[in-house]
Amino acid sequence: MLAFTLRRAVQAIGVMFAVGIIAFSMFRFAGDPVNQIVSIDTSAAEREVVRKSLGLDDPVPVQFMRYFADAAQFKFGVSYQFRQPVSTLLMERMPATLELAICATVFAMVFGILMGVYSALRRDTFLAKLFQAVSLIGISLPTFLIGILLIYLFAVTLGWLPSFGRGEVVKLGWWSTGLLTLSGLKALIMPSVTLGLFQMTLIMRLVRAEMLEVLRTDYIRFARARGLTTRAIHFGHALKNTLIPVITVAGLQFGSVIAFSIITETVFQWPGMGLLFVQAVQNVDIPIMAAYLLMVSLIFVTINLVVDILYTVVDPRLRATVGRAT
């Protein structure tokens, strides 16, 4: 088990190294960094001084190793636009994005699993068919459109929920949370629904399909032949078997929730990392873009690792294979 975790961790570092190369190459492809720092009338000699002082005259691999070593300590350099360390900017924005992503995922999991189980067990009811139809909308409508429609309905027409921002936030150390104030919670509803809707429909359809599959298996038939109650069969035996693929998808989707929060954050002017990234793209603020790329990959890689480990907790068969493989 430990060896398995370690091997996966080494693979994860390999992936991060590759992403680091891509992030680093952004600096070089977007033009000479010195040109972006100095003004137009700086002399060639002065440019050379700047270049030397920043270590930009070193061979490229040396520069890359220096960048990667710094990035590993969360030092991503200074933003061109804000004149502040990128890591400080990211740390300020991260709580907003993480809270949004977690709320969206919880929303997607809870409603996705409930609706999926319902529409598998009561396949022919009106409600189940309605869920199926609604899930099509969730899958096919683009996020920004859903966000704008929600704003129009609940913020403009009904005036129940704020149309932008996080509301009041409370500082807990360096973490700023909107979960403890009423206005913060209200502000969280629409962005979470917008961000989680796609995931919810995905999970719902997955749970439904998996559940129907599991209900056809021999061990469910045998459980029925043993006279177990319908409830024990559906929610004990069937649901647990259904959840294995759901964990995978929900886990991997958590990464994309963070990545796709760019759009939702833009629509709702949510002060998170996604909004920071969009602003950075507009201003060609490469240190922020590179750091964002690295952060998102780190989150993805971490989640993959956690999902792999979670599998073995749910499925005893994998515990055995993992033990044998190492």
Partner: protein, 328 residues
């Protein structure tokens, strides 16, 4: 004769399909007495398994029991409400399926599955149910049951898993066990062990057993009586020695002729020409008539009803109006 544990009368099972209703079981009748083992043989698709599923009430849509009645110790069970039928399943009727590798839920310890079943049917505490589960595992021949009870299904071999499945089927002392090809998925040496286990359990507990199989060897070794099924009907039923040594129905004769013997005569085994009709194309009259060497005009028009013939009963026109002595 005392009342049989299981009494099936004129059972009909239909499956609704896009091209009309298919009748998988058409007028099947048989009894199983207390402690008796009834073997049910026939080719694939003859309706053996469907009969078993009908008895335990697990015919799923689009199938349904279209007629006849099933009685368990006198109580009619084919039309019970689902919840009452659920209480009978596992408690009064146990079932063993063909494939032990897929019959157990892979995510639960075998002990938890046994304890869950025991506690569903018997009013026992968690610890009492666990003790009973260990006893059951010991009874079906699993070594070190107090340790193995905490194992997961994938940690058991196929034969051991089938023993766990049997323990699950008998955990509430049912009056009837339906074993649907319990040895088909196992290798030959394990088959013999499982068969003798089922036989022993039936004897020790006075349980009636309905043993569905297509293996005549298994039937000959285990059963007291045997029913030969063909195309959803019982062709012949009777004591196992009589049916094996002196089969009456031409189809039963064909089946017995296809069993290799150890006597060593190296003649080719007899085979029955043709194959069983599809459910959508069952011929008029006797469903076996196109493959039957003895078929005559009446067989193509009129469906034969079961005729008593000594201890046997045979559905064949050859035996109608013929004195028992000169029966072919």
């Amino acid at each position: 004769m005392t009342e049989p544990i299981l009494s099936v009368r004129n059972l009909q099972v239909e499956f609704a399909s896009r091209r009309g209703t298919l009748r998988a079981i058409d007028g099947v009748s048989f009894d199983i007495a207390k402690g008796e083992v009834l073997g049910v043989v026939g080719e694939s698709g003859a309706g053996k398994s469907v009969t078993g599923l009908a008895v335990i009430g697990l015919i799923d849509r689009p199938g349904r029991i279209a007629g006849g009645e099933i009685r368990l110790a006198g109580l009619r069970i084919d039309n019970l409400p689902p919840e009452e039928m659920r209480r009978i399943r596992g408690k009064r009727i146990g079932m063993i399926f063909q494939d032990p590798l897929t019959s157990l839920n892979p995510l639960y310890r075998v002990g938890d599955q046994i304890v869950e079943t025991i506690r569903t049917h018997l009013n026992l505490s968690e610890s009492a149910a666990r003790r009973r589960a260990i006893d059951l595992l010991a009874e079906v021949g699993i070594p070190a049951p107090d340790k193995r009870i905490d194992g997961y299904p994938h940690e058991f071999s196929g034969g051991m898993r089938q023993r766990v499945v049997i323990a699950l089927a008998i955990c509430a002392e049912p009056e009837l066990i339906i074993a649907d090809e319990p040895t088909t998925a196992l290798d030959v040496s394990v088959q013999a062990q499982i068969i003798s286990l089922i036989k022993r359990l039936g004897r020790d507990h006075g349980t009636a057993v309905m043993l569905v199989t297509h293996d005549m060897g298994v039937i000959a070794e285990t059963s007291d009586r045997v029913a030969v099924m063909y195309a959803g009907r019982v062709a012949e039923i009777g004591p196992v020695q009589d049916v094996v040594r002196n089969p009456l129905h031409p189809y039963a004769k064909g089946l017995m002729g296809a069993i290799p013997t150890l006597a060593g005569d190296d003649k080719r085994l007899q085979q029955i020409p043709g194959s069983m009709p599809r459910l959508s194309a069952i011929p008029r009259g006797c469903s076996f008539n196109p493959r039957c060497a003895f078929a005559f005009d009446r067989c193509r028009i009129e469906r034969p009803e079961p005729l008593p013939r000594g201890a046997q009963s045979v559905a064949c026109h050859l035996y109608d109006n013929v004195p028992a002595e000169s029966a072919a």
